[in-house]
Assembly symmetry: D2
Homo-oligomer: 355 residues x 4
């Protein structure tokens, strides 16, 4: 048989160009990182590390030219590895990222960045000292939907914000070491951190755990801001139906962001309340009128968020520019998660967030 | 022209049968009560009272044989009035209901029953002493949907309850004297009070008000129960879209109650989590499996809830039996509302509910 | 008891102003006409006629001052009756309308106008001769949704039309003398007749009847136009779910009109195909690109269509202007229905529509 | 770096087990076939053929061990190729499949099987003579949804069928040589052929083409059966929204199959009409009652249809058993498509389908 493209070997052994990326953790999320980095023109997946050999075997079948190892130090010793993407359990993030930074590698960490504020601060400082790129995998901020909502807020199309209400519920996937707060709410806190410029003053959280020895599987978080903006997050691993919905109310326009919708994920409503309270009116009556205008659903960039994110990471590594989800963003989210956990331990009492 | 049915007068002057009902308050809700009592076979609307004459004029056009007055005492003096339905602002409920009970009339009060716990207790006591029917207009518990969900809980088809999550949001209708908690959450607290036999131990609430001089227009309430059951309520007058959705998770089955759906309002999911935590396992691993079975949407009674409720009120008046939404139910809901308000004043700190 | 508004009699016996309307047929639709005419400021419902006395009794209870009769001629003899609204079975429309016009009354007829083209032509001629208003109850063209779609077509916002696809299916309500074509498709043909200025050239129809002695309960109609515009109608009395959906494709924009949606009934999509067929290209390849822009849902007038329509009828009666759904529109729809029926008898063969 | 799994070469060079499959056509659909055959335990993708070298290059990057060629005869000459999957334009199906069968290879062909009835008959005969497996890629019949609906029909849970109504519309993807009928309706005809045991007697079709030199892009097909069953298919490349919906009405139950729904794709409604036509009734009145029972959505097998199908093909190749979508099924669908095309040319006149 004529193989018109020459031998397969020659085809795959492209000249080693692009940033050399290693991925540690080949469980649920790691393969997605591998697939996206492998598709980029200016990156190469040079190594994958996991403690379970059978996972590496699966990777080997799909990516035969990638070096595979169970030894992380070994991987760090490889000079072809310029950047490390960490997709392991949260408890291991800080140790692995620290080792990688000390070895002079740029680092991308799955969310949440670390399991403690101290660890997150340590990584931020270390990356700063070594002048290495530190980025957190806040995937959702790289979606066309969130990018568009950020723009709606930044251009004041929504006006002053009244509330931000988020629901992220479905059946599974239970984590063993991390509660639904650290798992699911991390997504939503990274989104609001990206979209809303104001800084919350207090956070409260209530939750319930329904299995012996299990972590919280249903939780409600509330953020309170200076200007009466209230943000609320419902995260739940025990819902029979999948809901991924955010409502944002502003005094000019309001947004419904429904991530389950296949195409019209973001709807902008020209609806609101006109409220007139005449101070000279002794009866203190209030006149309320409703504005009911058009709705529109802007066309969104449909590129896979992880593809955008991986390309952005490589770009930051090469140019030295600051990632949209840099270590500081990761740290801010970890601070919110830690304060929420403190509120849970404190029976839901609001925790003041330091400036 | 031959009028085959005789003179219209003769047709309308039916023999005065059925319980004589008077309605006080002909604003938004009163006309619905009038219409439903007027359609019942064993009740008659004999009088309507409102302070605004133009409202009475509208009633006169549709119900020419009903006596109209702006004087409540006058109405109570009419011996044809056996029962009074109160559809006035909340702040006036206690005074009007007390007068009616003292005049020997049975009473139906729009929700919430009163603006304070003391007033609610006073009315319950008074009705008890006078052996008069006291019922609260907890409309939703008379819907086919809520009746069916109560049955699903009572027959243990859902099993032990994990959570009850309710969202009731839309644009308007702003109240001037009552916050969104007393307005909208009153509905949801009456529903859970009817469906869930357990008694909550603590209630927390957080809210925001966005207009000068205005009451809270967005609020989140959380009820915590003994057995890790958590209930949560999102009420909001500022949502661009209307959502009326309840998720109930049980260890056997789960329910989605979507009141916006025209027909399939209640969906029962045979879905859940199988959780095994082997205590002898030193590594403390947890095995989680998911049960993904069929969903079914039971056929529901489509009768208008207010029609069922008005008929039930008349039946209780005649038979002396206890209404499903009696004064005690109204009192329980007012207690929850008052405790939620206390939590709001107390920065969201949980309030212990007395037994 | 003080009756502040004076005796109810005085309140209801307003000075007899407005056009005197009589309604014949008090079954399913008649009461809706009565209710809407009764609410208008410049019309009065003076009489109602039906062959079933128990139906009149129901009317008497709600409208005690209206004259009631089982004798249509009797009703026509009443000089207070200036206009007659006909809401009887289709087979009786022509006879009743002819009598009314001969008696000098203006006429509003429920759709479809008549059971035959000859009858429709007769009524149009008669009304023209007598200079009386003849209007057909094409209710849907008076909705905010259809009004808006007509505007989108008229202003060429949609561009040249590619297709018009309509689905109107639900369970029931079976008619005994009229097939699903004359019942449901009459609605859709009246809508397209109102919206689309072009005239169809051919009509085809296929249907099925599933009950012994029954009429067609599922049918498909197709209209073909000169310029490759194709219109298609699916009507079905046997669907387990209710669908009321129209898709309209134009070369500039496309519309989804979903009448089940509570608020966003009309969605306008900036989507389409860019097609370039280079005639000089010997390989005759075609380049297709897709335009995927924003969607918007315009705010619609929410007034009940029948209220708009009844007011429009009264206005036409008073001013002598031509109704939007005049006898000619009714005739055009009957012509389409009759041709569709001919196609059904002819095994679905297309019928040429005369100019 | 230690590569714990040995050299990647060793890992991928598994012992050559399983049926050797070659795929011809690496455009849109071919890569899906390659991916699924590659994942199967008892099959191996040994070769891929395409006329465009750059497509082969893409394949090479992902599947480095697969032989690549632009010469189909070359591929057939390879003894490692036991079966050929054809994913090329329809016009080439017959020639390629014939060559493959003559070379002793089992064949899987993308739908529609061929562009003419004669070609389809030729392939069926040839495969029969050579005792080779001939299967058509009617993907949808291997979905959990269609499998379940077939079962609902086969067990008579739906009862006698009234109608089958299908809508398959979206924007794109335009074909250049094949109309929307041969492209999209081929799916639906393969589904009804699989589900409904009865044989249609007549087929009608109407369509429109909206681009110069273009094929039909909107079409309506109707199948009529002996027992008043009517089936209808709406296919459209110009819809702004994606709809994939089938309604099936039976006298016991009715089904809504919505392929866009993420999980509850099949809903079974216990709804229907009770029709009594008393023959002794001289007035010929008909009594209609509605049955409005529960709805349920059965849990469906979520396995990717193409995975099920590829495994089934390999199983049939090995065991010699007849595929569910064998050449005869492909031929039946091609016969319907050809008759529909004849009806299009004949202005929509129904074409009698030979027994």
């Amino acid at each position: 048989m004529t193989t018109v493209l020459g031998s397969p070997e020659r085809v795959t052994s492209e000249p080693a160009q692009g940033v050399g990326v290693a991925v540690v953790g080949a469980g649920y999320w790691g393969p997605n990182l591998i697939r996206n980095f492998a598709q980029l023109g200016d990156a190469r997946v040079v190594a994958v590390c996991d403690q379970q050999p059978q996972r590496l075997q699966t990777i080997a079948r799909r990516y035969p030219s990638v070096a595979l190892t169970t030894d992380f130090s070994d991987m760090l010793a490889d000079p072809a590895v310029e950047a490390v993407a960490i997709a392991t359990p949260v408890s291991s993030h800080a140790t692995l990222a620290r080792q990688a930074l000390l070895a002079g590698k740029h680092v991308l960490i799955e969310k949440p960045m670390t399991a403690s504020v101290a660890d997150a601060e340590m990584l931020v400082d270390l990356a700063c000292q070594r002048r290495l790129t530190l980025m957190v995998d806040h995937t959702f901020i790289y979606t066309g939907a969130v990018q568009r909502i950020k723009q709606l807020v930044a251009t004041e199309e929504l006006g002053d914000l009244y509330y931000y209400d988020s629901v992220r519920v479905s059946l599974g996937a239970f984590q063993q070491d991390v509660s639904v707060v650290w798992d699911l709410a991390a997504h939503d806190l990274s989104i609001i951190d990206y979209i809303v410029p104001a800084k919350a003053q207090r956070i409260s959280a209530l939750a319930a755990a329904h299995f012996p020895g299990g972590v919280a599987d249903v939780a409600y978080l509330t953020l309170q801001f200076d200007n009466n903006l209230i943000a609320h997050f419902h995260v739940n691993w025990l819902s029979p139906v999948k809901v991924r919905q955010v409502l944002i109310g502003g005094n000019r326009r309001m947004v419904l962001y429904d991530d389950i919708e296949p195409t019209e994920k973001v709807k902008v409503y020209d609806r609101g309340v006109l409220w007139t309270n005449d101070p000279s009116d002794l009866r203190r009556t209030v006149n309320v009128a409703y504005r009911l205008g058009d709705m529109y659903a802007p066309r969104l960039d449909q590129t896979e968020a992880l593809e955008v994110e991986c390309a952005h990471f490589i770009d930051c590594v090469r140019s030295g520019s600051t990632p949209q989800s840099d270590g500081e963003a990761g740290l801010r989210v970890v601070r919110l998660l830690a304060a929420a956990e403190q509120s849970l331990r404190d029976d839901g009492r609001p925790q003041v967030l330091s400036r």
